[in-house]
Symmetry: none
Subunit: 532 residues, 2 copies
Amino acid sequence: MSRERLYLFDTTLRDGAQTNGVDFTLHDKRIIADMLDDLGIDYIEGGYPGANPSDTEFFAAKPKFEHAKFTAFGMTRRPGRSASNDPGLAALIEAKADAICFVAKSSEYQVRVALETTNEENLASIRDSVGAAKAAGREVMLDCEHFFDGYKENPQFALACAKAAYESGARWVVLCDTNGGTMPNEIEAIVGEVVKHIPGDHVGIHTHNDTEQAVANSLAAVRAGARQIQGTLNGLGERCGNANLCSLIPTLKLKKEFADKFEIGVSQEKLATLVHASRALDDILNRAPDRHAPYVGESAFVTKTGIHASAVLKDPQTYEHVAPEAIGNHRKVLVSDQAGRSNVIAELERAGIPFDKNDPKLTRLVEEMKEKEAAGYAYESADASFDLLARRTLGKVPDYFRVVQFDVNVEQRYNALAQRVTVAMAVVKVDVAGEMLISAAEGNGPVNALDVALRKDLGKYQRYIEGLRLVDYRVRILNGGTEAVTRVLIESEDEAGERWTTVGVSPNIIDASFQALMDSVVYKLVKSNAPA
Amino acid sequence: MSRERLYLFDTTLRDGAQTNGVDFTLHDKRIIADMLDDLGIDYIEGGYPGANPSDTEFFAAKPKFEHAKFTAFGMTRRPGRSASNDPGLAALIEAKADAICFVAKSSEYQVRVALETTNEENLASIRDSVGAAKAAGREVMLDCEHFFDGYKENPQFALACAKAAYESGARWVVLCDTNGGTMPNEIEAIVGEVVKHIPGDHVGIHTHNDTEQAVANSLAAVRAGARQIQGTLNGLGERCGNANLCSLIPTLKLKKEFADKFEIGVSQEKLATLVHASRALDDILNRAPDRHAPYVGESAFVTKTGIHASAVLKDPQTYEHVAPEAIGNHRKVLVSDQAGRSNVIAELERAGIPFDKNDPKLTRLVEEMKEKEAAGYAYESADASFDLLARRTLGKVPDYFRVVQFDVNVEQRYNALAQRVTVAMAVVKVDVAGEMLISAAEGNGPVNALDVALRKDLGKYQRYIEGLRLVDYRVRILNGGTEAVTRVLIESEDEAGERWTTVGVSPNIIDASFQALMDSVVYKLVKSNAPA
């Protein structure tokens, strides 16, 4: 049986950008869009060109996608204007995009209260705007805002809005549960009515998570005939978020009901990168990933209880609804030392560190990791620090050099021109095989100054670290307050483009940063086989 | 029409205690149980007496509940033993509880693989255990583990397990989606079959969130006839968690479909304490609350976009599916890059800052906010910094004091005992109405040292800031690398328990932190009406 095509529309960069606390830079947007394209998303909504400088700049050039259509969001023409005389509409149509997603009201109440216009003018605005974009050669869709609430008030008018878009040439008419308060059975019944008037393969669904049912609502709409789902990575979005693509994609790929019937743009191979995509977005946002997120969370396949754990060891299917590897996640059994040990062995094998299974040092490494992780070290995010910890515990890292002392100073004062200036300076004293080397440097902050000073002169090791540079620096406070413990993650890159991450933990942010900087330099020396 | 009774069963203290990272003390359990009873929950599952010392101790005395039945969880008798000769079962029956919730397999596959016994022995174990507890005068229920997966493999056997419990006198037969992989339409169909054999007012539902549909699955079961819902506060639970009572309760109370048909133990008045209960649990767990949680999250009723904001100001119903006050939450319109003038005006009104709509300074404020947000300031997260920016632009913040100079130093070296130590020290020089005050302080990090030094002596203003303390410190690097711009958010609290957040942005983390510290102190002075 041939499967029907189901389309995925991502609005992380538009509706997701409405999330309280989310503020994408242009650079963030480019990285996220490329990641979504790589995953196999069909439509990537980049934002609202003309609404703010960063969205406008993003649409100044079309990203080169392999797969996805780059989509611009915007309003239909204003009430009382003609389509040709609305600068907002003109800017939208001229944006460098493959598709345009308009938003228009489809609720009589909203037209009256929020828009303060008539039903007729609202319908005319939809027809004119869709028609104008279509005439300009764009693929067009319409987000019918407040569709379900509107349908419950006045089904004829809601349907008339949807039909106006379809009949004016919209490829997709997207039914939006804008306020997020609709129940799955209502969604299923209403979409079932809509597809009697508009073919299901032109109907999309856009839901919000205000009753924690955005995913169920999206799937209910698909059951009723809709063939496009709009959502965001990690369920980002205003208020309680949009439908979570990180939950929807695995369900569509792995659950028989959907997998037998539908084909989506995400391959099995790409599905296995979903955990990575989810975490990458959190990294960009500097958010702690939700450990309990369905499918992609760190704890999604973690078993804690004794009875469950022993069953999982007999057959993982006893307590797993899908195989974690399918999404790029992995199983973890928390209780037994056996499990901790096998986790560490798997990591050592992955890192290519030689070890002997019967070496008592291996047990010490397992213990030490447990202790350090309890103290805040995150070895799962810091591959290079895990590598060093393992090599050190198994007895294999030379003492290349020793930092005898460092001193960092930040001063803020008025200069001779009466301007307020802030100056950061660091001094590092290093013992390299008995030779004392003192280096000082300025930086635009204390960590930068320390980094530059540390890497300024390492004597005979200097040549190995010339190409080293810091590419990312992330800080998290593990318990509230300035007196809490600080975790610093530093990502470094060498001249060959290889990247690695190191971690430091301390109540003092400078100390934590220095630990991570040191690990990075030492890791580079190990990797370069520098002589002891 | 008289409404049917729908029962709520809370398993926060049992299934919720399986959550990765959750470890309740006896004291925690008592507080949480009282809170659940106060909310109006019907059954409170306290744990598994006999399984661990803290659960055993919790069941040594029965808590005094107003409303709820205190429920003990445990296994049915072991295969091959008689009920009277199973010490685990005996301990469970003797526990000081109103009700006992047994768990037993109801899947042929699980009986064979995990339990390694026969279908017949499994049924006998259910009958014997339920019968023994019933004979001891307890209210009994049975969690049919893996019921839905079991039903899909062998409906007769799954149903036989459920019926064995019901026929042996169980008050409730609870159908469990243990692995969390079942879809709502499957749940609805299967529960629909079960209630043909067991009356719906004896059928319960227990779901997990592995496909992000635990709430939808619970409601689907209720639609099909089940009359008890098991869940946890904040959706705590193993892997991806259990059905979230903080989402279910408001839906059952506020959505017409359910409110018209069912009565639950939670009153309207207690519903308005739900946000408090949710946050209280997070406090006990020392977790940051999920800002985006449906109904109870801090952002659940927050509007960010300009167009939405102006509609919400006309009529909140335009973008709210329920009234936030019903759950004890509140509405917020955010100030951000996306926000227009109407947002800024709404914030000024909320903050109680007097302004004139025609004042050209208002336009300057909107412009200044846009510029600062482009530079990295996040006013939507920093209410107090917005307040100060607004008051300053509109011309209303006195220059209480001026920081002439500060100096922070972090040194790492060996001490006299050959231990590596890190010392942070700060000096701050302040001009308070012509009087120069110099204060120095040590801290466990540079920001802490600076904070302590700044607040050590502000002369005549000192008395206003005595009760001030930092409760959270968050850092984000806005572009990769140590040379990037740093954004610091600081949350402060005063003696009255009021909290506010301030922001600082700079390439230098110390400078950014200092800006946020300064804003916090000045905000406190403004709030206290300190004289200029």
